[in-house]
């Protein structure tokens, strides 16, 4: 016993190292998830508390400083509303025509999913992982693999999917994370590919497995293909900024800039869509 106390530093080092190695080896097990859950549960009130104080202060300050901007915004919004009211009539006609054509083609009507809003309260504190934590969780009916979108201006785009759900918090894996894999296609030519994050600290994505025959232009839109069953098809992710044609590969690689800037993500919408089980299992198996 005396020996252990005399060499407590080495004993502690060996014990803690063993703990880490065992924990890493059994990652995803009930034990590690519970342990992480407990520590995360202890820390989350601090995150939420800070978020509330910071949010309250900025809103209070905004009341004084942003009055002029709000007035200008109001004028602009009224102007936009007039335009949209005029457009509404036209939209109804187009919708009816679309419905008629769909009926003629016997196509299924697109399923519309419900979505709930959420706020980003924290980001991954280290530089190795790129995740976001939002103030919605299991209590709001969220489950793992639900897609998450956000708006930049009037544009709606995918920002990632939910990878972890706790009581009132969830973790989002963004499209710029090297750990994510999304089935995508080129907006115009419809050539399919697989999108993932470009690197650990980049705000770009890359699309692999695009056939060399595909004509890809700067600015082409990349949309979800819906193949893995997680994301609904046709949602915008980003635009092409660069293409690479490695000589040794039968495919070309595309660098994509997401529509939503990772650094500016604040408010998000979680689409309440559970993955299509068969498609998802097949995709996971292929991975």
């Amino acid at each position: 016993m005396e020996l252990l106390i005399r060499h407590k530093s080495i004993v502690t080092f060996i014990s803690c190292t063993l703990f880490c190695i065992i924990s890493l080896s059994v990652q995803g097990s009930g034990f590690t998830l519970t342990f992480e859950g407990i520590i995360s549960g202890i820390f989350s009130p601090f995150q939420k508390g800070y978020n509330a104080v910071q949010g309250g202060t900025s809103r209070f300050w905004a009341g004084f400083s942003e009055l002029d901007r709000v007035k200008a915004d109001l004028a602009l919004t009224r102007q936009k509303l007039e335009t949209y009211e005029a457009l509404d009539e036209e939209m109804t006609e187009i919708r009816n025509e679309n419905l008629r054509l769909r009926n003629l083609l016997e196509m299924k009507e697109r399923v519309r999913y419900k979505s709930i809003p959420g706020f980003v309260i924290s980001k991954d504190p280290d530089n190795w992982f790129r995740t976001l934590i939002i103030n919605r969780g299991e209590r709001d009916g969220l489950t793992v693999n639900m897609p998450v979108v956000a708006y930049q201006g009037d544009t709606k785009a995918i920002i990632g999917k939910i990878v972890e759900v706790r009581g009132s918090l969830s973790r989002i894996q963004p499209v710029i994370s090297p750990d994510i894999k999304i089935g995508v296609k080129l907006g115009e030519s419809k050539f399919p590919g697989l999108l993932t994050g470009y690197s650990h600290n980049s705000n770009l994505c890359k699309v692999d497995y695009i056939t060399r025959a595909a004509q890809v232009k700067f600015g082409d839109v990349i949309i979800t293909s819906g193949q893995a069953g997680v994301f609904p098809p046709g949602l915008v992710i980003g635009t092409v900024v660069k293409t690479e044609l490695p000589e040794s590969s039968p495919y070309q690689k595309i660098i994509v800039k997401p529509v939503i800037d990772y650094n500016l993500i604040d408010e998000v919408f979680i689409i309440k869509k559970n993955p299509d089980k068969d498609l998802f299992d097949l995709f996971e198996e292929m991975q």
Binding site: S9, I39, Y50, S122, K123, D124, N201
Partner: protein, 167 residues
């Protein structure tokens, strides 16, 4: 010593909030944030020996892992190892001046990065590009901030350091 632990816990919590909260994204340079918890770990090892260094590293690393998407132990193990190694040398060997602190933090950050990358390869998903995109920029950033942070920590732990005979 209880006082030291309480202060360290408070410093770790504040650093964690700074690193994790979106309002502190402005501190991100070249896509990386400084690892404040790591600087605290090195400081604890440097000033109060291996035991305090490794305990701070392990506890802050576990907290880091719980908040982050990393598997439990991935951030804790490198911090634990660095806290232990730096504590073996400490203030008695490494002089307390700006150049030594810069070199110490830079070298320790590189070693931590390499251990993390190695663990990522074994237990998660490693990318060699992380050396250029994460390890080096983070090491520079940690090193640049370290003299100022060490100065602040010296003030916070003034009483303890006087008791240890370093001031």
């Amino acid at each position: 010593m209880i006082y030291t632990y309480l202060i360290t816990a408070a410093v770790v919590l504040v650093s964690m909030l700074i690193q994790g909260h979106t309002s502190f994204d402005v501190i991100r340079i070249a896509g990386v944030k400084p690892d404040l918890l790591f600087v605290i770990t090195v400081y604890m090892g440097y000033s109060f020996g291996s035991f305090n260094g490794e305990i701070t590293g392990f506890a802050s690393g576990l907290l880091h892992d719980s908040i982050s998407n990393s598997p439990l132990g991935l951030m804790a193990l490198p911090k634990l190892a660095i806290g232990f190694i730096v504590g073996m040398f400490g203030r008695s060997v490494l002089k307390s001046n700006v150049a030594s602190i810069l070199i110490l933090i830079f070298a320790a950050s590189i070693v931590k990065g390499i251990i993390t990358l190695f663990l990522c390869y074994i237990f998660h998903q490693g990318m060699i590009s992380a050396v250029i995109h994460v390890i080096l920029p983070e090491a520079f950033y940690n090193a640049i901030l370290s003299p100022m942070l060490f100065f602040i920590f010296d003030k916070i732990y003034q009483g303890e350091l006087q008791r240890e005979g370093y001031l």
